[in-house]
């Protein structure tokens, strides 16, 4: 042992500093910060030079300029004389619209096919399996364009296909009946909302009573009465203030109703089936993850099959299902940006037009990113809250 020990506690030998993990860590991090800062400075420098050369000035003022292009699918007032900012807003709402519609449909498709795939009916489970595997393993962009081509190949307006003379399909999209609100319709809608609130209250009370006394209460029927029954009575009592504007087939076109563009229908179909196939797998795995003993225990307690599913299996399966489902919802939202391929005017599509007209590339793309990051954050924080609520409460 000729080597000397480091000189005392806290002694610091500069020549051996490199062997200290903490020192190395600090040096490495300083280098990292300097590297990133250098890269950022390089980019900013070039950007300023390139913007100057192109005669552009950085800033979001262009959002107040006139857009000069049309958007055929819109949820809020918009005309080509509106501003770029409003156009982007219309696009953002269109993204949210297709995302919400897609999430709802994909969840429904996923749950139904996931349960069907577990059926011991060979024919059904195999058919669903083939569909799931095919849909999952083909790029969603291909499916979006495929559905769009199908929508465009539908008959012309004058030969529209009709479902019971209320819904019409043609190559301009889908025509649905639209509600007409007359005086007093607000009262009916308020009663519906009140019914929903009342049902929630009844449910809480019923659960409390069941926990305390064991007596059950038919919440489903009560809810049906409150949400549907009472408003229907009010509807007739007020002299039917709510009417449907059913589209009518005229010689050359359709009159009335509300029309949905083929792009929206195609995007919605493609996204909801594609994501639905993934959700189907998640649901299947979630149900399989609940051990058989749980089902058998429920059987031993004398619970009926549907009660077993609702009260025993599903609540436990949901714990496994919800986290991956969240990322599927986010994927669907992000995949909706592929709308640009078929010309559905979502935020990316409208932004692309604005970008080409104004040349403000950085600003537009940064707005995309802020929008999607916000949407992702909102969705995942809601799903995290929901996940926490249904998670296993461990003592």
């Amino acid at each position: 042992m000729t080597e000397k020990a480091p000189s005392g506690a806290g002694g610091f030998d500069i020549s051996r500093a490199w062997t200290d993990e903490r020192v190395r860590g600090v040096i490495f991090q300083i280098a990292l910060v300097l590297g990133v800062a250098g890269l950022a400075a390089f980019i900013v420098n070039n950007t300023i030079a390139n913007y100057e050369e192109a005669g552009l000035s950085f800033g979001y003022g262009f959002l107040f300029d006139t857009a000069n292009f049309d958007i055929n699918q819109r949820l809020i007032e918009y005309a080509s004389t509106s501003t770029y900012g409003r156009a982007l807003g219309v696009g953002a709402l269109n993204t949210i619209l297709v995302a919400v519609m897609g999430v709802a449909a994909a969840t429904l498709i996923g749950f139904v096919t996931g349960v069907l795939r577990l059926s011991n009916n060979f024919l059904v489970s195999r058919t669903v399996a083939v569909w799931v595997e095919f849909t999952r393993n083909v790029p969603v962009l291909l499916q979006i364009i495929f559905w769009w081509l199908i929508m465009l190949a539908l008959p012309k307006v004058r030969d529209s296909l009709s479902l019971g003379e209320t819904v019409f399909l043609n190559n301009r999209g889908v025509r649905l009946p639209s509600p007409i609100f007359e005086d007093g319709s607000a009262i009916v809608l308020t009663i519906v909302l009140l019914g929903v609130v009342a049902t929630a209250v009844v449910r809480r009370w019923a659960k409390k009573r069941q926990d305390a006394t064991g007596r059950t209460f038919p919440v489903g029927w009560a809810g049906l009465g409150l949400i549907v029954g009472v408003p229907v009575m009010a509807y007739f009592a007020l002299g039917q203030p709510l009417d449907l504007d059913v589209p009518v087939q005229k010689r050359f076109n359709l009159q009335g109703g509300v029309s949905i563009t083929p792009e929206l229908v195609a995007l919605w179909l493609a996204l909801s089936t594609y994501t639905g196939a993934f959700i189907s797998e998640i649901v299947r795995a979630g149900i399989l993850a609940v051990s058989r003993g749980q089902t058998e225990a429920a059987g031993a307690l004398g619970l009926r099959r549907n009660l077993t599913m609702r009260e025993i299996v599903l609540p436990q399966a949901l714990r496994v299902i919800v986290p991956p489902m969240t990322s599927q919802y986010l994927n669907l939202t992000k995949n909706s940006s592929l709308a640009v391929a078929i010309g559905y005017q979502d935020i990316v599509s409208t932004g692309d037009t604005i970008l080409n007209q104004s040349g403000q590339a950085i600003e537009v793309i940064s707005l995309y990113m802020v929008f999607y990051l916000t949407l992702s954050l909102l969705t995942s924080s809601y799903m995290n809250w929901y996940n926490k609520r249904i998670a296993l409460v461990e003592r």
């Binding site: 011991n120 083909v138 970008l355 995309y368 999607y372 954050l377």
Partner: protein
Amino acid sequence: MTGQPFHRSRAEMLQERPAPITSVGVIGWMRANLFSTWLNVALTLSALALLALTVPPLIDWTFLDATFAGSAGKDCTGEGACWAWLDQRIHQFVYGFYPAEAYWRANLAVVLLVPAVGYLLFANLPYARYGRWFSLAYPVIAAFLLVGGLGLDVVRTDQFGGFVLNLVAGITGIVLSLPIGILLALGRRSRMPIVRTFSVAFIEFIRGVPLITLLFVAIILLPIFLPREVSLDQLVRVMVIITLFASAYMAEVIRGGLQAIPQGQYEAGQAMGLGYWQSMRLIVLPQALKISIPGIVNTFIGLFKDTTLVIIIGLFDILGQARLLQTNQDWLGKVDYETFLLAALFFFVICFGMSRYSINLEKRLDTTRR
């Protein structure tokens, strides 16, 4: 009852009888599986109806009524599919605008992929020692074959297209995203706060935005971010973005694997006197990667399907070739579904194959742990 002994049991065995024909064989199976309850009967009948409505017309359309010969869309007059374009256009679907005399190079690159992947996945192949080196050298060999140089004719990257483009972009992404993903995952669990912050920011940012906006960054913003005189190849830019995109997802998958490794393993590494990188390389990562294989393969599948997005920025992969033919004057309106069916089949075969492999692996790994 006259003095006879009263037997409560038989003296001899009864002849065995076969099970009733309603509970064995085809009929029994059908009763148990297809017609056990009313709901099941309804499901079976609706499935049968669905199949009868879709499968025979589909087969008729695809094969029986299809037109296979002809030189333009007007030759396809039948009710069925129009496959007349196949023999003149299939090369474009596979190779894009790659020069015909160099097809062998693309073919060779794809064929060599088999041993390169094989040596990585299976340990007990002959010549495994050299095989590993071959796997490592493969990306360089493939790039040389595809792009050319050093005696081979140079092929410009804008001539890349068709399924080869999907394969090139996909495989590059797969090969590069794994190491980058590992580094990001380690960075996210690092004790160095700045490294951790950067990793988290990068991963969450990439995962929070759609791939298409990142492709816009590569195509529209990169020229603004770089000095005028620098110009990067379009295909290279796209591959960098796809790789970075997949890396962020990969990092999350691997982080899951790292979290599943018990603390004791990390501590054991330290107790053995191993440094950070040694204990990661020898102890933690082999276990973590093993349990994340299903997730890794799923990320690969997603990445491979995402390579179709290049058509939005004007490259012609297999989907782009299909669109080209659909909008071609000679074939307009005749080949919409046929071209997509073919493109879908290409993807289905590869992605389904990968997912089967991952399920297989999952099962195998599962039994070893039980």
